[in-house]
């Protein structure tokens, strides 16, 4: 069943469009734009360091909490929400397994599908880093394998949590359009605005500590992400900007896993309980 669901995701054009967009975004903001800036008059010497292979984990993880989150949210919505639009839930739910089994298979396939959203990005980043190092005539050093693996796992978890938000929104709204709309609105307006205000209104800090944005940035920060290095990153600039407050990395890990479990659990409960009309 998992293989069937994975096959279904693999065969969707939308999956590959999202993967392409995500990988291009990672390369664009991690390497291409910074390198163009570095070669221009605005370039600062520390910008080059961030683009070299040794800094690959730090450079790429910056994009996961915001851009990666949005992409994963859309993937999660499409993975489940489209079933409502196509009316295929009635076909699946009248086969042999129960609804819980069908949903579990879908979630397992989605979890597997998120792996290509991490590994190829790191591979592309490595190629880009090597190319830049060659162009600049700098020696190539690689980070230790454990750092890269931890970075990939953290990146996968960030995507998985956001994908679970997408799944919940899709099940709750029984579709895709409204779910994506709500998701983006929540990411940009609710979390973005309140996080920005938390810097001046201390009362909001405890709330921000529970936000996905705070916890995902806090998770990747110890691994070098979230603008921990150069200060020039997606974490500190642009629509996904986040400048704290950060929480403890263990707390971030626990909170994110708990969120994922809750989001998936509520989705499963709704799907089992509701009529398929």
């Amino acid at each position: 069943m998992v293989s069937a669901e994975f096959f279904l995701l693999r065969c969707r054009m939308a999956t590959w469009v999202l993967l392409t967009v995500w990988t291009l975004l990672g390369l664009m903001f991690g390497y291409i734009v910074p390198y163009v800036m570095y070669r221009s008059d605005d370039g600062r010497p520390n910008m080059l360091e961030a683009m070299l292979p040794e800094q690959i984990t730090q450079t790429l993880l910056d994009g996961f909490p915001f851009f990666g989150g949005a992409i994963a949210l859309i993937l999660g919505v499409l993975a489940v929400g489209s079933e409502f639009g196509w009316d295929t839930l009635k076909t699946l739910f009248t086969q042999r397994p129960g609804r819980g089994v069908v949903f579990t298979a879908k979630m397992a396939a989605l979890a597997i599908m998120l792996v290509p959203f991490v590994v190829p990005l790191f591979a592309s980043g490595a190629i880009a880093g090597v190319m830049i190092a060659r162009l600049e005539g700098v020696d190539i050093f690689w980070p230790d394998a454990m750092t890269v693996i931890q970075g990939m796992l953290a990146g996968w978890l960030v995507l998985a949590v956001w994908a679970s938000v997408g799944v919940l929104l899709a099940v709750a709204t029984r579709g895709t359009s409204l779910a994506i709309g709500f998701g983006i609105l929540y990411t940009l307006v609710i979390e973005g605005l309140i996080s920005a205000l938390a810097g001046t209104v201390s009362l909001l800090e405890p709330i921000v500590d529970l936000f996905l944005r705070a916890n995902t940035y806090s998770l990747v920060r110890p691994l070098g992400g979230a603008g921990s290095g150069t200060g020039d990153s997606a974490a500190t600039d642009g629509p996904g900007a986040f400048s704290g407050p950060y929480v403890d990395e263990l707390q971030a890990l626990v909170v994110l896993v708990a969120y994922m479990v809750v989001f998936i659990g509520v989705s499963a409960w709704l799907l089992r309980r509701r009529d398929v009309a």
Partner: protein, 338 residues
């Protein structure tokens, strides 16, 4: 069949394949299905006849576990609808067939085969059965409505089910497609497999089904074989001296078989072989009665259906009674509909 049913679904032979007890579904104040008692026997092709919005699809969805009843109970193959025990022996197509548009017909069936644990070689068999082998590798979104319907039937057959539930299977098909589909359903139901087919097309039901249940306003209003529902054959005799003719014919076939309606003499018979119309004509003429018209007539299923369903409307959908055409189990109940 019995072995197959036992092994695959745990269903005990001899019981009803489908059994509902006061099955009801309400949406707020609206009663979609009200106190439905439905019993489908093993091996029969049961037609579920009703107008659009009568509650057919809602009933079928409840039988497949897609929607939960507000009250009442149902059992399908001896198990609660929607459970693995029930679904493992049921193949279904509810309303428009729903498949993944970007996948081919074959890949859609592969998906379902993986869910049901069906060997993949079965896919070619069912595709051939519905005559879709040539287009099997094209994307579902490129299929015509008829091809989509056929893929829906193929998907329903994939598990080689002991119970087949088909909701309006000829919807949107052209006349040739409808004839093909009817032939296919007749073939599928000719063995031990039980088929529950819903439709609002009288000819379809008349040609395919062993037994028919008529649903109106969410309630079963009549049940029986097509012959039972259509009633007895009638010999209609139009004459000048109607009272003399009635007396003569009553003397020949019995008082209870003769009636006068709209200045026409009606002689009822179990079948047309029971009364020799030429002989009756000769006897009337011999008695000096001029016979203007003499012909056999029988109520069509359509007229029976319209009588039953318009009766429901006239009653304001209250105080409905189920007519069992075989004369058994007359029941009455009060159902409040809005």
């Amino acid at each position: 069949m019995k072995d197959r049913v036992n092994k695959r679904s745990g269903f005990s032979p001899g019981r009803y394949v489908i059994e509902t007890d006061q099955l009801t579904k309400r949406y707020g104040d609206i009663v979609a299905v009200g106190h439905l008692d439905l019993r489908v026997r093993q091996g029969e092709v049961y037609g579920f006849l009703g107008a659009n919005g009568a509650g057919k699809t809602t009933t079928l969805r409840m039988l497949l576990g897609l929607i939960q009843p507000t009250s009442g109970k149902a059992s399908v193959l001896g198990a609660k609808p929607g459970t693995e025990e029930s679904l493992m022996g049921v193949g279904s197509m509810i309303e428009t067939p729903a498949f993944y548009p970007h996948l081919s017909g074959r890949h859609n069936l592969v998906m379902l085969a993986k869910y049901t644990g069906t060997p993949l070689k079965r896919i070619d068999q069912v595709l051939a059965q519905v005559d879709l082998s040539k287009r099997a590798d094209d994307a579902f979104q490129t299929y015509s409505l008829g091809m989509k319907q056929r893929l829906g039937v193929a998907a329903a057959l994939l598990k080689d089910p002991v119970l087949l539930v088909l909701d309006e299977p000829t919807n949107g098909l052209d006349p040739a497609g409808m004839a093909d589909m009817r032939a296919l359903i007749r073939r599928l139901g000719s063995g031990d497999r039980t088929v529950l087919i819903s439709s609002h097309l009288m000819t379809e039901i008349e040609q395919i089904c062993d037994r028919v249940g008529v649903i109106a306003g969410g309630s079963l209003v009549a049940e029986g074989t097509v012959d039972e529902l259509r009633g007895k054959d009638r010999l209609l005799i139009r004459v000048d001296q109607i009272e003399d003719a009635r007396r003569i014919v009553a003397g020949l076939v019995g008082e209870q078989s003769v009636a006068v309606s709209s200045e026409v003499l009606q002689v009822t018979a179990s079948n047309q072989g029971e009364i020799e119309s030429a002989w009756l004509n000769a006897r009337l003429v011999a008695q000096g009665i001029a016979v203007q018209e003499l012909r056999w007539d029988r109520a069509s299923l359509e007229s029976v259906f319209l009588d039953l369903t318009s009766g429901q409307l006239r009653q304001g959908k209250r105080g409905q009674s189920v007519i069992h055409a075989n004369g058994q189990d007359q029941e009455s109940r009060e159902v409040a509909h809005v």
